[in-house]
């Protein structure tokens, strides 16, 4: 014997339906389930990166030396690991460093790069790779075209969404001459930058002199409120 009428049962079912629909349609507008979001409490930058991953692209002329160059780069990383005070806090010591030949997108810069604002690699992606750093190793001829007078250049490799219309670099490209691998300046300055760590040694930045004084009046474009 039922204690509820069919009409009452219909109302209860309708209420449950409205509640379920209401819950599904609210609260998630800003979250894209297919988008992996960065985490900034770690220098690994993506939540699914459990180890420091480094991928390496070599200029075609350097392919025959791949074993030697990878071994040198591994030694550079080991040296920085031993000396950088934030290595462990950055979560780079959580698991052994993973290094592999070949990067997503297989880009190899061939034109002049600026040291600010350049992208080398996949760019924006909804699924960033496991690699925190993409290292592009150039021979001297290509380095003259790409780097010019610069010793090395860091650039964006991958960008991920952090808000509705906000993206942030989550993987860094490091473009370097083969002849610079194994040097102190590469380990202390450029490799640190490529991993998102403060360099152990860095040249002073140029003094800032070309700024507008703050004491002047408003622009007059619009009256102050």
């Amino acid at each position: 014997m039922s204690r509820f009428t069919r009409r009452e049962m219909f109302h209860v079912a309708a209420m449950v339906g409205v509640l379920v629909l209401g819950a599904r349609c609210a609260g998630n507008e800003a979250v894209d389930a297919t988008q992996a979001y960065p985490r900034l409490d770690s220098a690994l930058l993506m939540p699914d990166r459990s180890a420091l991953g480094i991928c390496v692209e070599l200029a075609p002329s350097l392919q025959a030396r791949s074993g030697e160059l990878l071994a040198t780069l591994r030694a550079d990383v080991a040296s920085l690991q031993a000396r950088h005070p934030l290595w462990s806090k950055a979560d780079f010591g959580r698991e052994p460093v993973r290094m592999q030949l070949g990067c997503p997108g297989a880009a190899m810069p061939s034109a002049r790069l600026e040291s600010k604002g350049a992208t080398v690699g996949p760019g924006f992606t909804k699924s960033p790779s496991p690699f925190r750093t993409f290292v592009y190793v150039l021979d001297d001829a290509r380095a003259r075209e790409v780097l010019g007078e610069e010793r090395a250049i860091r650039a964006r490799a991958e960008l991920a969404q952090v808000d509705d219309h906000v993206v942030a670099e989550v993987s860094t490209a490091l473009v370097v001459r083969a002849s610079d691998l194994g040097t102190a300046s590469f380990q202390e300055t450029w490799l640190s930058k490529g991993l998102g760590l403060r360099p152990l040694r860095e040249a002073a930045e140029p003094a800032i002199t070309d700024f507008m004084p703050k004491s002047s009046e408003g622009s007059g474009v619009m009256p102050s409120p």
Binding site: Y37, S42, K89, G123, V166, V167, M212, S219, P225
Partner: protein, 251 residues
């Protein structure tokens, strides 16, 4: 003999029982609470994805000279529809020259200390440009910039640096649509202040109805049900910046 269910239904009074009306009222109240834009007290500005510019943690300049923990910015127009110097002057006024209560400059005890560079961004050499923390760029469309496209102004962070507790960014770029800023009015200021709020670490509404008196939750987010026309950073916004600058983020 008991009546059949059909007979019971037919025998029920025409009006629904009172508990059904009350239950419907409760259901509708719950749904409305989730959907209607009510003013809520909490900014969700302390989350783990709060990307921000690195220099807001420090202040080492003077009243006449920026230090390397202050923020320099440059402005660049990429379109003939916007006069670059005029826009630079308007952005400078919006950020630093209106009433103190209505500008970002000076926030967090001057850890937000904004200095406009004299020339447009592209006029600086690479080394000098590397010392400029923010760049404001204006164009008729930004289809070449992810998440901007033809109708949104957007922000990009570059050069992550881990400081021992969190990663922040050395450089930030604000890409403004011409249509959003060409009138040089309060709507223009709204966009400038909103995108600058992102650079400093503030977030957009997290969900429909996440509205409050904030430059990040104003009527630019009508799509989230927000109706507040505020065009300047509010006390609530500045309070959130203080928390970010203090590194008291809840990760």
């Amino acid at each position: 003999m008991s009546p059949s269910p059909q007979e019971k239904t037919a025998a029920s009074p025409r009006g629904a029982p009172r508990w059904i009306a009350m239950a419907w009222a409760g259901v509708l109240a719950v749904v409305a609470w989730q959907h209607f834009p009510v003013a809520r007290a909490n900014h969700t500005h302390t989350g783990g994805t709060q990307a921000h510019i690195a220099t807001i943690h420090g202040n080492n300049g003077t009243s006449t000279t920026p230090g390397d923990q202050d923020e320099q910015y440059c402005v660049q127009s990429h379109t003939g529809n916007i006069n670059g110097p005029k826009m630079a002057t308007f952005i400078e006024e919006t950020l630093a020259k209106l009433a103190a209560a209505n500008i970002w400059d000076g926030t967090a005890n001057w850890r937000v200390d904004l200095w406009r560079m004299a020339k447009s961004c592209s006029e600086y050499d690479t080394a000098t440009r590397g010392t400029i923390e923010y760049e404001y760029h204006v164009n008729d469309d930004w289809t070449n910039i992810t998440l901007c496209g033809t109708s949104y102004s957007c922000v990009m962070f570059e050069n992550p640096v881990f400081d021992g507790s969190h990663t922040h960014y050395k450089w930030g770029y604000s890409y403004l649509q011409t249509e959003h800023v060409s009138d040089y009015n309060e709507r223009t200021r709204k966009f400038i202040n909103h995108e600058t709020g992102h650079i400093l670490g503030l977030k957009d509404p997290d969900y429909y109805g996440h509205c409050m008196n904030s430059i990040m939750h104003n009527n630019l987010y009508a799509s989230a049900g927000c109706t507040d026309p505020v065009w300047y950073p509010t006390a609530s916004d500045k309070s959130s910046i203080v928390r970010i600058a203090d590194r008291t983020n809840t990760w």
